[in-house]
Each structure stands twice: as structure tokens, then as C-alpha cells.
């Protein structure tokens, strides 16, 4: 029943998991549940290296319920209920798809599944079921209902694992089943076009929801939804460059979220505050944390010198090559506005004025918090300077999935013949110019005056009192909701939809429950009525 096989795709995802788990091992964590974490790790390994659908499903389910028990230590009842119902639902749709595949091809082992003889109706059914699983796992609208609460209410260490690795299992399943098992030529369904648009819509809505968020972890949760939305969009283009872009973005997103979540976790660890409105002004208290966060948001927003840009660049070139202009426009819209919540994250926590005066009393951040952050930052910077370094690995995966490899021109260059850029030159030029201006600035021989205290700012002629909350910036994004288009986007809420579904089931169960409290006599009546009906039908 358990049989495994080392594949290039498996290696990449497993490598990411190992890196994340090893680096997170150092972070101080109140809920030391080693068994559950090792169970989760084993299930992830089982998913990535499975060589038949049943082992994949077993890993998938164990991951589902082991993370349920990990979240259960801190999240409240509604969140747990939302989490488990969606994840078990996703797992059961996966099981449905596996059974359908078994019905169509008569076996579970990947190598023996050939879809040439399978009628297209069945392939579409399998695709829809798998897409449901993917939507639930990666939190595509409207199935993202559980994502934000679970990420923000689980303990800080686990939300990093959730967002960095577990949201990627959906991507892994998509690639494995659609690219490797069903293979592109049997997948002619127009559904994938719809999936692309659904991915983009999710990321747009999630981005604007993130901008509106006041809690750091909820902002990061929405941002994970948005980023995974990009991956789903680009994956459903089903081209070789788009697959490479998706894989590249998966790697980048894993380390960005690892860095950001642990950074926020460190701040929450020392300040016990979650919300931007109660944080702020920690820049000069925790400078290293600040710099690491800046590296994180630069790559999250996809700004050039760092790794984030390379994956964003690949996504744009893949979409351009496929002439998907409108789709690219939508992606651009969401990634442009993504920049807003990146800045809000930095401003809310570090910049601006400290809202509570006793920031001095905050303890030092334990060094162990920096291990995953440094790992993330180093990888992001290296991928910024030498973006091409992991292209051969992706080409290995592309080969295993039957695509011809993407153009590889050395470590520094990234992109296809449509458009490519040289990472080394970009970051080198940036560094050089920065140093030149710095030298020129320092050489200027004028004295710099230090302000007396944090209230010594030009304040339109008035004098700011200490009790005035000067941390105005945390409310960034408030004015966005005044803009017509964005107000319409923000009004979307899946809460009402799922609330209606649960009340429907509740009322239904209310009715059936009354049946089960019949008195013995009425029960007798039901039996004899049933007998008479069947007898009458039979005799007629």
C-alpha cells in the first residue's frame, strides 16, 4: 500500500519542507508538540514522494488532521470547525477524484495511469474534483473562508509552516496530477481558463482585504492567499515557462512567508501586541529585525534587486508569451496594489511613532528567532543576484513532466528569448550607485542636528502633546475604500454564503431529528404504512 519513488518534483518540494522545518526548529515555541510535528513532516514526505494515488491520499489526510490538532491548541471553536470541514471536504474531493481515476484507468500507480482511452466527460469530472481540492488547499475564493482565521489564530510558529509549506501541497497536487498523470494533451477543458481568472480575482480581493487589515498575521494570511492565487493562475496556463514561473514563485513565496511570519512572531513574542494600532516605532529598538522585514517586503512586492522580482518577472513573461493581455493586466493590478500592504506591514510595526510609550520595556528578541529569517533573507538575496541558479532544477522537473526545458544562459540571466534580465548587473548597479551617493552625502561637510525627542517634529506650527496618537499611518488603506471600484471589491464576503449553507444543514438536521423522537406507537404506524405502500406497489 505504501510505495514511494524519488522524483525531481518531489525533491524540490521536500527540500523546501526540510529547509522550513529545520529553520523553524530553532524558534522558541510554547506548544512543544514534537509528535504532531513529526507526524506532519512524515505526511508531507509521504505526499511528495508517493508513487501511487493512495499513498498520496494517506499523506494528504494525515497532514489534514495532524495540522488540525496543532491548530487546536490555540484557535477557537469556530475556526477549528471551519478549518476541519474545509480540509476534510478537500480531502474527500481528492478521494473522489482518485476513485474516478481508478474507475477510468483501473489502477492507482502513477506509471500505469494512461488517459488516452478515458472519455472526456470523465476527465472533466476528475479535473473539477481536483480543482476543488486545490481551491480549498490554496484558499481560492470562495473556499478561502477558513484560511485567514486558521493562519492568524494558530500559534505563530505553526502559521509560518501553514503558509510556507502546507498551502503549497495544493500546487504540488495540481502539477503532479494535471501535468504528470493526466498530461496536457488530454486536458482540453476550458475550465482551466476559468481557474486562471478565479486565481487572479482571488488575489485582487485578497490584496485589498489585506490592505484593510489591522492585525499583522491576518494581513500576512490574506497576502498568502493572494500570492498562491498568482501561482494557481500561472499554473492553469499549462505552458512550460508558466510551470517554471509557478515553481519559481512557490520557492520565493515559501521563504518570503517564512521570513515575514517569523519576523512578526518575534515582534508578537516581545511586545505581546498583534495589531498595527498598538505597535509602531520599533525601528531603532530592533534594527536587524527591521532590515530583515524590509528584505521580506521588497521580495514580497517583487521589487527588482531581490528574488521576488525574478519570480514576478517570469510570471509576466509567461503571460506575455501566451498573449494573455487581460489576465496580465489583472495580475499587474493586484501586484501593484500588493505594494500598499507591504508598506503597511513595515510602517505599522516599525516606522511611525510608537503608540505605547513603554517600548523601551520590551525585552531583547531571542537570537533563535533570527535563524529562519536570516535563511530566508540570504536565499532571497542570492535569488536576486543569481536568479538563474535554480533554473536547471526546474528544467529537471519540466523534463520529468514532458516539457522541453526553458532556455538556460548561465547563472545570472533569467527569462526566455521573449524577455530576460541580468540579476547580477541589476543588483550590482543598485549597490554601486547607492555607495556612490552615500560617499557623496557623507563628504558634504555640514553638521547634522539630532532632534531632541520623538515629539520634536514640524507640526503645522502646533506642539504635539505626548498623549496624542501620532502613529497615524497604521490606518493606511482607509481612504482606499472611498474609491468606487475598490469599495465594490471590498464589499464581497463569503461569510454570508457559508453561513447560509450551515444554517440550511442545521434546519435539515432539525427536521430529521424530530423523526428520531417518534413514540413507539407512531413508529408502529410508520412501519405498517411502509409495509402497505410496498405491498400495494408490489401487488399492482
Amino acid at each position: 500500500m505504501f510505495n514511494f519513488e524519488i522524483t525531481a518534483l518531489g525533491n524540490m518540494f521536500f527540500g523546501l519542507t526540510v529547509l522550513v522545518f529545520v529553520s523553524l526548529f530553532f524558534v522558541p515555541n510554547k506548544h512543544r508538540s514534537v509528535t504532531l510535528y513529526s507526524l506532519l513532516f512524515a505526511s508531507l514526505a509521504c505526499i511528495f514522494y508517493a508513487s501511487d494515488l493512495i499513498t498520496l491520499f494517506i499523506g494528504w489526510e494525515i497532514m489534514g488532521w495532524s495540522s488540525y490538532f496543532l491548530i487546536a491548541k490555540t484557535a477557537d471553536k469556530q475556526t477549528l470547525q471551519k478549518y476541519i470541514v474545509f480540509n476534510i471536504g478537500g480531502a474527500f474531493t481528492l478521494l473522489g477524484a482518485i476513485i474516478l481515476i481508478y474507475g477510468a484507468c483501473g489502477s492507482f500507480v502513477y506509471s500505469e495511469l494512461d488517459f488516452s482511452a478515458v472519455p472526456s466527460g470523465q476527465v472533466t469530472a476528475i479535473t473539477i474534483l481536483l480543482l476543488l481540492t486545490l481551491f480549498v488547499k490554496s484558499g481560492i475564493m470562495p473556499f478561502h473562508y477558513w484560511v485567514v482565521d486558521s493562519y492568524s489564530q494558530s500559534n505563530d510558529l505553526f502559521s509560518a509552516v501553514l503558509s510556507a509549506i502546507i498551502s503549497k501541497t495544493g500546487v504540488f497536487a495540481f502539477i503532479l496530477i494535471f501535468f504528470q498523470i493526466i498530461t496536457v494533451q488530454y486536458l482540453q477543458t476550458p475550465i482551466l481558463e476559468v481557474v486562471a481568472w478565479l486565481g487572479v480575482l482571488t488575489s485582487i480581493i485578497a490584496t485589498f482585504k489585506a490592505i484593510n487589515e489591522d492585525e499583522a498575521k491576518r494581513l500576512l494570511a490574506y497576502s498568502s492567499i493572494a500570492q498562491v492565487g498568482y501561482i494557481v493562475t500561472i499554473l492553469s496556463i499549462m505552458g512550460s515557462l508558466s510551470l517554471e514561473a509557478a515553481l519559481y514563485h512557490t520557492v520565493i513565496h515559501t521563504f518570503v512567508k517564512l521570513l515575514l511570519f517569523i519576523n512578526v512572531a518575534a515582534i508578537i513574542y516581545v511586545s505581546k501586541q498583534h495589531r498595527f494600532s498598538t505597535l509602531g516605532g520599533l525601528l531603532y529598538k530592533y534594527p536587524l529585525n527591521f532590515i530583515l522585514l524590509v528584505v521580506g517586503i521588497i521580495s514580497l512586492a517583487g521589487m527588482p534587486p531581490l528574488g521576488g522580482f525574478s519570480s514576478k518577472f517570469l510570471i509576466y513573461t509567461a503571460l506575455l508569451e501566451e498573449h494573455k493581455g487581460l489576465l496580465l493586466a489583472a495580475v499587474l493590478f493586484s501586484s501593484a496594489s500588493a505594494f500598499l500592504y507591504c508598506y503597511k506591514l513595515v510602517y505599522g510595526i516599525y516606522l511611525g511613532q510608537p503608540t505605547n510609550p513603554k517600548t523601551e520595556a520590551y525585552p531583547r528578541i531571542p537570537l533563535r528567532f533570527y535563524v529562519p529569517q536570516i535563511l530566508g533573507a540570504v536565499i532571497l538575496i542570492t535569488l536576486g543576484t543569481i536568479p538563474g541558479v535554480i533554473v536547471p532544477m526546474f528544467n529537471g522537473i519540466l523534463g520529468s513532466v514532458g516539457f522541453e526545458p526553458v532556455l538556460y544562459r548561465g547563472v545570472f540571466v533569467l527569462g526566455s528569448d521573449f524577455a530576460s534580465f541580468n540579476g547580477g548587473v541589476v543588483i550590482g548597479a543598485f549597490g554601486l550607485i547607492f555607495v556612490l551617493i552615500l560617499l557623496f552625502f557623507v563628504r558634504l561637510k555640514n553638521r547634522s542636528v539630532k532632534p531632541k525627542d520623538r515629539l520634536d517634529i514640524s507640526y503645522c506650527g502646533e506642539v504635539p502633546r505626548a498623549d496624542v496618537n501620532l502613529h497615524y499611518g497604521y490606518g493606511m488603506g482607509r481612504e482606499l475604500s472611498r474609491i468606487g471600484l475598490i469599495k465594490m471589491i471590498l464589499s464581497r464576503s463569503s461569510h454570508a454564503l457559508w453561513q447560509r449553507v450551515s444554517t440550511l444543514f442545521g434546519d435539515l438536521s432539525g427536521i430529521t431529528q424530530k423523526l428520531y423522537t417518534l413514540s413507539a406507537q407512531n413508529m408502529g404506524l410508520v412501519i405498517f404504512a411502509f409495509f402497505t405502500i410496498l405491498l400495494y406497489m408490489g401487488v399492482k
Binding site: L283, Y284, G352, V425, I483
Partner: protein, 292 residues
């Protein structure tokens, strides 16, 4: 190679401030008064650079403007000046249009970090306005650029310019040009979208705590940045410059067009400008994109 970069930089700095001085003269004439001399911007920047004291709010406040300036300079260096590609090509072979677009956003990020570090609420208000407006500006410009890239099957500015040998893009893709021009106005900080950088709004703008050398650096980088954008518009829609004279002529024509449009309109609030930008130019750009 470095001489080219230096020349490009000096030209951008020179032309930037010249055009800025010209702009101050033309708008003065429109207001019925005599404007300052053309070189007034040079004098201001030299005076500010040599001021003997400037308040400094810590190392991040110090690094913010520097990142902003390096963002602007990088944008200029990655755009080729001429369309024949022998001289003043800069670093464009190592990058392409997408890289340039993202460098245009790097500058505001540096500025935002610097402004954020000193914690003045007015600065924060200016930054929020700037970033929201940026969101509105980017949409039509990006869609127009996407349309061009798809039309020319490449993201390299050189090839886009080469393909305009017989018909300029302004004629081939008029809708894209209109959308790009409207957002170009915003990028140059001309009204009606100039609520962020306008002099009257300086107190609630991002540069509220900048003084001395920091303000000087901010002004000079904005000059270089506006010349870079002019250059980009020329390369994308006017077939790039054949010679130096052709370059000056085309950039001047564009600059004057933006100045005249700028002086006519009043100033939108941020919400109005973003609302307008997301409605009119974006729709024009999308329609243009469909026709590509």
C-alpha cells in the same frame, strides 16, 4: 562604458533641471507674472547642498533619500537614449522594459521608508497619498506597456524602438498612447494628479521633514526621474531619438504638451484621481489592448 553612464547621468540632470526651470517660467507666464531664470533649479539645489545644518532622524532617514535617488538613476541608466543603439545605450542590454517599470516603483519605496522613519504623521499622510496615487497611475501605464510588448513580441526597449522604423507607436496604437500619456502626466507630478508633490501641499506631502542636503537630493532625483520618464515615453511611442537634436526636440515637445495640459486643470484629491485613473485611462488602455 562608465563614460557613457556618466554622460547619460549628466544629460538627465541637466535636461531635467532645464525643463523644470522652463516649466516654472511657462506656468508663471500663464499666471501673468515673470518666472525665475531657467537655471533657478540649479541654484536652489547648489544652495541646499551647501547648507551647513540639516536635521537627521537616524540612519534610516539618512538611507531613505539615497535609495530614492539610486532608484531614479537606475531607471535612467536602463533606458537607451538613441534608437540606433551604438552610443548611450547604458545598461539596457542587461535589463528590459519590465525591469525599468519596477525601478520606477523602487524610488517611492525608498522615499516611503525614509519618511516613515521620522514618524511625522504629516509625512505618513503624504506617503499614503503617494502610494495610493501610484496604484492609480500604474494601471493604465502598465496595460499600455503590456499592449506594446505583446504587439512587438518582446520586452526589450531596443527592439520596440526598432519596430517603429516606419510608423511610430503613437499612430499604430493611439489608444495605448492616450492612456499612457494621462498616467505620464501623473508620473511627472503635473496637475490634476499632483496632489502629492505639489509645492502648495508640501506641508502634508512626503517631504515634510526633508531639509538641507536631503531636500536637495530629493529635488535633483525628481529632475532625473522626470527626464527618464520623458525618455521612456519617447522611446516607446515616438520611435526613440535618431540623434541628440532629435532627442531634445521630441522630449521638449512631450514636455510642453504635459505642461500645457498641467496648467489647465485644477487639482484632484487622491481618491478622485485614483477613481478617475482606474476608470477612464484604464478602460482606454484595455480597449487598446484588445485591438493589439
Amino acid at each position: 562604458m562608465f563614460i557613457d553612464l556618466l554622460i547619460m547621468l549628466v544629460m538627465a540632470y541637466g535636461f531635467g533641471f532645464l525643463y523644470y526651470g522652463l516649466y516654472r517660467n511657462i506656468s508663471a507666464r500663464v499666471h501673468g507674472r515673470f518666472g525665475p531664470s531657467l537655471a533657478q533649479s540649479f541654484y536652489d539645489s547648489i544652495k541646499l547642498f551647501t547648507k551647513d545644518t540639516s536635521t537627521d532622524f537616524g540612519w534610516m532617514f539618512f538611507a531613505g533619500p539615497i535609495i530614492m535617488a539610486s532608484g531614479a538613476i537606475l531607471t535612467v541608466l536602463f533606458i537607451p537614449y538613441f534608437n540606433h543603439g551604438e552610443r548611450l545605450v547604458g545598461l539596457s542590454p542587461y535589463g528590459n522594459l519590465i525591469v525599468v517599470l519596477y525601478f520606477m516603483v523602487l524610488g517611492p519605496l525608498g522615499n516611503a521608508l525614509g519618511v516613515g522613519s521620522h514618524g511625522n504623521p504629516f509625512g505618513a499622510m503624504g506617503i499614503t497619498r503617494g502610494l495610493t496615487r501610484l496604484l492609480g497611475l500604474e494601471m493604465p501605464f502598465y496595460i499600455a506597456v503590456v499592449g506594446l510588448m505583446i504587439a512587438n513580441e518582446s520586452a526589450d526597449i531596443g527592439t520596440i524602438m526598432a519596430n517603429q522604423a516606419e510608423t511610430y507607436n503613437i499612430i499604430a496604437h493611439p489608444l495605448l498612447f492616450i492612456a499612457a500619456f494621462i498616467s505620464f502626466l501623473g508620473f511627472l507630478g503635473k496637475s490634476p494628479f499632483d496632489v502629492v508633490g505639489a509645492p502648495q501641499e508640501v506641508y502634508s506631502g512626503p517631504a515634510v521633514e526633508f531639509g538641507g542636503k536631503f531636500l536637495a537630493l530629493a529635488l535633483s532625483q525628481s529632475a532625473i526621474f522626470s527626464f527618464a520618464k520623458l525618455l521612456l515615453m519617447v522611446d516607446l511611442f515616438l520611435g526613440g531619438a535618431d540623434s541628440l537634436w532629435d532627442l531634445i526636440l521630441k522630449t521638449f515637445v512631450l514636455f510642453v504638451a504635459s505642461v500645457f495640459v498641467g496648467n489647465v486643470y485644477g487639482r484632484f484629491t487622491t481618491a478622485q484621481s485614483v477613481d478617475f485613473l482606474l476608470k477612464v485611462p484604464t478602460v482606454i488602455a484595455i480597449v487598446g489592448l484588445l485591438f493589439v
